[in-house]
């Protein structure tokens, strides 16, 4: 009787050792390799492609994915009915270390779900539930600070335009909905204009309109045309996609020879849209907020509660030429703009030099330093009543009504 093995014993031994090695290596890999952190970014219903708010959130997450070795997945809910069940499903699975919720539409869903899953970490960007929770980080911005700097420069630009082409010195803004971040923009912008008035002695007219929408360019266009016809020289866009219609109105206003006007963007750098007539954008670094939240988780420095990003933290400000170039590159790569980033930067620099004169640059620098050093701090209106009261006082020229700390004269 000859027992025949399917393989010679030596081969069998080699195979066994090889298997053990591979298995051991796999166990070693899973046990000792740095564990990859998984993060999910949940957009609002608009999702990516707005070249502003949502895209900037994605930008911050992408950067975190590269620099911090994080796996980032994205999700765009179809409509409001999906916010709670999706958030609940993701929290229950617990596979994501952090769920980043982009925008105020998530407030209600987070309020309903967060307490049920204390192990799940959440970061709510640019909104607040009004409650402090250990597993929820809420990131807000000091919109007043970027608004104030934009206000000073807008007033300066309107003065130059009136000098060149005649007409009143008038600035305006096409805003979205009356929600707390917009209240803060309004306070800052009006403060900046009044600051310019107080320092230069030049009277500046001011107009502000809520279109009620963040996604309606036609409404933005109508609002802008009304303001332009009323003599406004510089319009500040604070309405997401809606103020793209404002951009178009300003561009056409110049192109059709109906007058001279400039537009200012906000959140992302939007100069690339038309560098000649959009020489400046305020920044609101949603990307910084998202990156920081992810960084906290990766580095094990998680701390729930409210975090407010201002000028001093690099959370808000005015886009410099590097930032302008960066977004112009994205627009160029995605074929939204045919102008090269270098050319955009060149036009923006020359337009800024032409319309922001030295005295205005000095004013902006002075105000920026005061804010950075914490010498002045803006008020945060808790409700619409307080907001209205601050605006009324500002309109009368009482700058200090907008300040919670410090004073200007």
């Amino acid at each position: 009787m000859s027992s025949r093995l399917p393989l010679p014993p030596l081969a069998l031994g080699v195979l066994l050792v090889a298997l053990l090695l591979i298995g051991g290596f796999a166990v070693y890999r899973t046990a000792f390799a740095p564990r990859e952190v998984k993060v999910a970014v949940l957009f609002d219903v608009g999702g990516r492609g707005d070249l502003s708010f949502n895209d900037m959130a994605a930008l911050g997450a992408d950067r975190a994915a590269k620099e911090l070795n994080v796996k980032v997945d994205y999700l765009t809910p179809k409509d409001l009915a999906h916010f709670v069940p999706l958030l609940e499903d993701l929290s229950k699975r617990g596979e994501y270390e952090l769920l980043v919720l982009v925008g105020f539409l998530w407030i209600d869903a987070l309020d309903k779900v967060a307490d049920k899953y204390p192990q799940q970490k959440y970061a709510l960007i640019d909104a607040s539930t009004g409650k402090a929770r250990a597993n929820v980080l809420e990131v807000l911005f000091r919109e007043q600070e970027t608004g104030a700097l934009v206000g000073v420069s807008a007033a300066g630009m309107a003065r130059e335009l009136a000098r060149e082409a005649g007409g009143p010195i008038k600035v305006g803004s096409v805003a979205g909905m009356s929600i707390p971040p917009l209240w803060r923009f309004h306070i800052g912008y009006l403060f900046g204009v009044k600051y310019f008035e107080a320092k230069t002695g030049t009277k500046v007219e001011f107009a502000w309109v809520y279109t009620g929408k963040f996604d309606d360019p036609a409404a933005g266009r109508r609002a802008a045309e009304t303001m332009l016809a009323g003599g406004a020289k510089v319009l500040y866009g604070l309405a997401g996609l809606t103020h793209v219609g404002m951009f178009d109105a300003v561009i056409d206003w110049n192109a059709q020879g109906r007058g001279r006007a400039l537009a200012l963007g906000q959140d992302a750098s939007q100069e690339w849209y038309n560098a000649t007539y959009i020489p400046l954008s305020g920044s609101k670094r949603v990307d910084v907020a998202v990156y920081r939240a992810i960084e906290m988780v990766v580095k094990g420095e998680w701390k729930g509660g409210l975090s407010v990003l201002g000028l001093a933290d690099g959370g808000v400000g005015i886009w410099d030429i590097e930032g302008v170039k960066y977004f112009a590159q994205i627009a160029y790569d995605t074929k939204k703009s045919k102008v090269t980033p270098e050319r955009v930067a060149e036009i923006v620099s020359s337009q800024r030099a032409r319309y922001i004169k030295e005295d205005v640059q000095r004013l902006m620098k002075e105000l920026e330093d005061k804010i950075r050093r914490g010498e002045i701090v803006f008020k945060d209106p808790r409700d619409e009543k307080e907001y209205d009261a601050i605006i009324k006082e500002l309109e009368r020229g009482n700058l200090n009504a907008a300040l919670a700390k410090g004073s200007v004269s």
Partner: protein, 324 residues
């Protein structure tokens, strides 16, 4: 099972296979992996049945809103506007009257549907055009009321909370009960018979002594009743309306697709609403798992609706809107 039902089922199975085929082809053309996309869509779509029930419930009703008038040969494109009105009425009346708010939503929808029906019956106003106009008017009326009068005191972007709530399963059972009611109405009542005769031929109906005007107004009212309830259920599930209108927008239009996939049959509408709801839910996970753009999900769902409803819609067109 009757031969007719068997044929309808096998027809749908064939259409489903065709829809999967066409969708896969399109996904391949766009450079995505069709197998994993559809696998993720279906597995995650059916992973949470309660969620499917919640999303399907308003769709069943907005399908009925289109289906009942269609059986009478009328195109109620106004399910959308009826849903807005129903949602608003529910939001308002549920504050004081709780569950009765649902009834208020349905009745307001019925009133609107009936008005459109009366315009058609007595003045010859085309119900499609009138529906589309009221849809947009009511869209902006809703937006206005949400941002001015029903606004939440703390969060200005949204309305106050609804005053009455039903769980996902209860609302689905409610939708199912209403679908059964519609079934009985269509096949076991005189009015249902008159609706079906009117759908087959207006002139024959008139010749047979059926009051065409009365049936026109009634079928549109019943459609409106369902449309209004659809809006009420949707806002009830979300808990509030907001100024993006994303809680409501499209619920009526999607109902048309659901009704066509379901071959204008109330039970078919329930099945196709559940199917579409699971596709929409699963679509979210395709983006999350495979990193595809969210628009891809819309494309998949759109193609599915198109292919699945095509055989029935074509039949309908060939007969000039008349049903057998």
């Amino acid at each position: 099972m009757s031969g007719e039902a068997l044929r309808a089922l096998s027809e749908t199975a064939l259409a489903l296979a065709a829809a999967v085929f066409v969708t896969s082809l399109l996904l391949l053309l766009l450079g995505y992996d069709p197998v994993s996309s559809l696998a993720v869509m279906f597995t995650y779509g059916l992973g949470n049945v309660e969620y499917v029930a919640a999303v399907a419930a308003p769709l069943v009703l907005s399908a009925l809103a289109f289906l009942i008038p269609l059986r009478a040969g009328l195109f109620n494109i106004g399910g959308e506007g009826q849903a807005y009105l129903g949602a608003l009425s529910f939001l308002y009346f549920s504050q004081q009257f709780g569950a009765l708010g649902l009834l208020a939503g349905g009745l307001m929808g019925a009133l609107l549907g009936g008005t459109l029906g009366a315009l058609r019956a007595f003045l010859g106003v085309n119900e499609v055009i009138a529906s589309i106009m009221t849809n947009w008017t009511l869209y902006y009326v809703t937006l206005f009321l949400v941002s001015r009068h029903l606004t939440h005191p703390e969060f200005p972007h949204r309305s106050i909370d609804v005053g009455f709530f039903l769980g996902s399963w209860t609302s689905f059972l409610l939708a199912l009960a209403l679908a059964l009611l519609a079934l009985v109405l269509l096949y076991n009542t005189l009015l249902g018979y008159e609706i079906r005769v009117l759908g087959s031929s207006r002139r024959a109906a008139a010749y047979a002594g059926i009051d065409v005007r009365r049936v026109t107004v009634l079928s549109m009212s019943i459609g409106g009743l369902f449309g209004g309830t659809a809006g009420a259920l949707k806002v009830m599930y979300v808990g509030h309306l907001d100024t993006t209108m994303s809680a409501l927008f499209g619920v009526g239009f999607l109902g048309i697709g659901v009704a066509l996939i379901g071959k204008s049959h109330p039970i078919g509408a329930v099945l196709s609403a559940a199917f579409l709801a699971s596709m929409i839910i699963g679509g979210h996970w395709v983006e999350l798992r495979l990193g595809t753009p969210p628009e891809l999900t819309d494309v998949i769902v759109g193609v599915m609706v198109l292919v699945l409803s095509a055989p029935y819609a074509l039949k309908l067109l060939q007969r000039g809107g008349r049903l057998g």
